[in-house]
Amino acid sequence: MLNFLKKNIYIIIIFLLTAFVFGKFIFSLNFPDAGYLLSTDKDFVLKVAPKNSVSQKFSSARDGLTKIDFLLRNFETSSGDQVLMKLADENCSKILAEGNIEKSFLSAGSLYEFSFPRINNSANETFCLIATFEPKKKTKAVEFFLKNDSQDGFLINNSSAQQSLSMRPVYTNTYWWQNLRELDQRLSQYKPWFLKQYYLAAIAILFVALSIATIVILIII
């Protein structure tokens, strides 16, 4: 066994690293609603004091709601401060999911996400997002970026101010191969016919397969 490991250490490492890269890739296949354009305007922020909450209704365009992206100003989860998120039904009464926010993988300082298990039948449903600020230190408030209009007619705290949270829903499909197909669709848009759909998928698969084959040959010979 030890001899086998020693002899094939590079092959094992290459397959482990490839599994890591593509495992991460497959798990990251969530699709933000591209119709929402997020923006950070320092003059449009809502300050939420400790233990206070803000609610925002929104409608889900499709099935598979799994995450909400939103923008916070000057917020650091590393300080111990937390924003407790709850996803509820239209009346903001029945809680469907809850949890804390996390910094987004994208290195945009203000982008945070609230992830929860996939909601299968979310298409055309209205949801209520409730955020409560739970500081650990003496932070005075958490600041949510706002936008001056509403994507789907819902306003923050049901108020009359023409503002809504700068946020967007994120979806995922039932199966991983459906996610790959949706990614292929996105990659194919605004591309010529030879870089679309099956051609593009074939190019990607061939490039990865040939690269790994070449490396394995180079290691073995």
């Binding site: 890269v21 890739f25 993988f105 290195s107 605004y190 870089l195 593009l200 490039f207 690269s211 290691i219």
Partner: protein, 494 residues
């Protein structure tokens, strides 16, 4: 069984493996060309507009609108509509929702639910003119440095009846093809300087998977051609050092330098190198005839330096009102601002790829790992150059000195181009981004592994050289695929 053995023997042939590397590199490049949205490369809209400008009929029979200086100043860098590009570029950028990508890193274009973009049919209907109506047009090749763009016009004109998407992406694929030639030349350099086929192939594959090289050379830009010409020049220099001067390597060096000058001004560095090579050639000729020739090496080097200075003086801020002291102060201020850990770190980060797009511990620390490896390599190179030990599996010293000279020349060239800008404006707006150093990628990789090899040999651990090569290959492949699938795709499509 015999048949399997036959196929395996065939698979082990260096020419077959080299072909595999080149095909894998090309396919990777084509995939990346598709992965980066239209006009999203470095100054890509401007480079493509230059190609369209050169493809236009010489006689401008259409209405020209001349922009006022105020209009030129009022341009919004996030909106290609406000630039003096062809109608086709401006309208296509708007239709393809390009401006959404220019707002914040987390915004993507507004995708449709199909394989065609929401406005793709409109783009493919070719209702917009590929001609510049707003003058002066925003183009890059304003002087003689237009070779890449002239080559691009062949594709633009050949496929003039097709959609802009076909023409644009074919020119990107042309860039990938040029870069595949660079990878081929890198392999030839390694073989010529004496590396074994296996070591040469592994280092070639490492170059082929360098992330920034992989990404940057899929863009419409003169960079892929410039990088190729730097590599062919290096190959010419190596052949000269190996075989002496003959018409082939002289033609390769001169052609590379001349074509380089017609591609981007950076290639002026090759002219400087050519002057030093001629000086070296003269020295070599004399040294064969007389033992006292070594006394001529100093004056010859000084003469070559003066010639280079005469050639370059027009680009340098030497007309300082305070005389020589003013020049020294200006140079000191420039060096003090640029030779800092922060600035060097920035160049290093942008040399290896788009490392700042995501919050990743791996990417945050990869430069530290690379610097550590490079530090060992530098120590090894010092041992290699100054010890009397023979390193059978490594190239001769003359090749390594030449490759180091190429790196010094490009470093000096880039900084001497940056210094006048700093002297004039007081800012480092031009800067020294890592992509400027890619023309010497082959030399960098060779030097790193030569240094590591020398270090291992010095401690009588030659067998670790192959281990280092294999580890380098595996890590570079993982680094590159991580950048493609977990960073680039994440940024633009998720």
């Amino acid at each position: 069984m015999k048949k399997i053995r036959f196929y395996w023997d065939f698979c082990k042939k260096p020419s077959f493996i080299l072909l595999l590397i080149l095909i894998a590199f090309f396919l990777k490049g084509v995939f990346l060309a598709a992965a980066f949205p239209i006009f999203d490369g470095q100054d890509e809209a401007r480079h493509y507009n230059t190609i369209q400008f050169f493809s236009e009929p010489k006689e401008k029979t259409w209405k020209i609108n001349i922009a006022t200086p105020q209009q030129m100043q009022a341009r919004d860098s996030n909106n290609l509509e406000t630039y003096n590009f062809s109608e086709e570029i401006k309208k296509t950028a708007t239709a393809a929702d390009n401006s959404a990508l220019r707002t914040e890193i987390y915004n993507t274009i507004d995708f449709s639910n199909s394989y065609d973009g929401k406005n793709e049919a409109q783009i493919n209907s070719k209702i917009w003119q590929p001609i510049n109506q707003d003058y002066p047009p925003d183009i890059t090749a304003k002087s003689y440095d237009k070779l890449y763009h002239i080559l691009g016009t062949f594709i633009e004109n050949t496929f003039a009846r097709d959609s802009i998407l076909v023409r644009f992406y074919l020119i990107r694929i042309f860039s990938v093809l040029l870069s595949a030639l660079t990878v081929l030349c890198a392999y030839l350099i390694m073989r010529e300087i004496g590396f074994q086929p296996k070591a040469s192939l592994i280092m070639t594959a490492i170059i082929a998977f360098q992330p920034k090289f992989s990404f940057f050379t899929t863009n419409i830009s003169y960079a892929p051609l410039l990088i190729l010409l730097f590599t062919t020049f290096t190959l010419g220099g190596i052949l000269y050092l190996k075989n002496g001067l003959d018409w082939r390597n002289a033609a390769l060096m001169i052609t590379s330098a001349v074509l380089g000058m017609f591609t981007k001004a950076t290639a002026i560095v090759l002219v400087a190198m050519l002057i030093f090579m001629v000086a070296f050639m003269i020295y070599q000729k004399f040294s064969r005839r007389s033992k006292r020739a070594k006394y001529w090496s100093g004056p010859l080097f000084i003469l070559a330096s003066i010639l280079v200075l005469v050639f370059f003086h027009q680009y340098l801020p030497l007309n300082n009102s305070k005389g020589i002291s003013g020049i020294i102060v200006s140079l000191y201020e420039y060096l003090a601002k640029t030779l800092t850990i922060g600035r060097l770190g920035l160049s290093a980060r942008t040399y290896w790829g788009t490392l700042s797009w995501v919050n990743s511990w791996t990417l945050d620390n990869i430069i530290n790992l690379i610097w550590l490896i490079e530090a060992f390599a530098i120590a090894g190179l010092a041992i290699f150059l100054f010890s009397k030990k023979k390193f059978d599996f490594l190239p001769e010293k003359k090749y390594i000195i030449f490759l180091i000279s190429m790196i010094i020349a490009l470093q000096l060239g880039i900084r001497l181009a940056d210094w006048p800008h700093f002297a004039k404006t007081g800012s480092l707006a031009l800067g020294t981004p890592g992509r400027y150093f890619l023309p010497n990628l082959a030399s960098h990789i060779i030097l790193v592994f030569t240094g590591l090899g020398a270090l291992f040999a010095y401690f009588k651990k030659e067998k670790y050289f192959e281990i280092a090569l294999k580890a380098g290959l595996v890590l570079m492949f993982a680094f590159c695929t991580y950048m493609i699938f977990d960073v680039v795709i994440y940024r633009f499509y998720l």
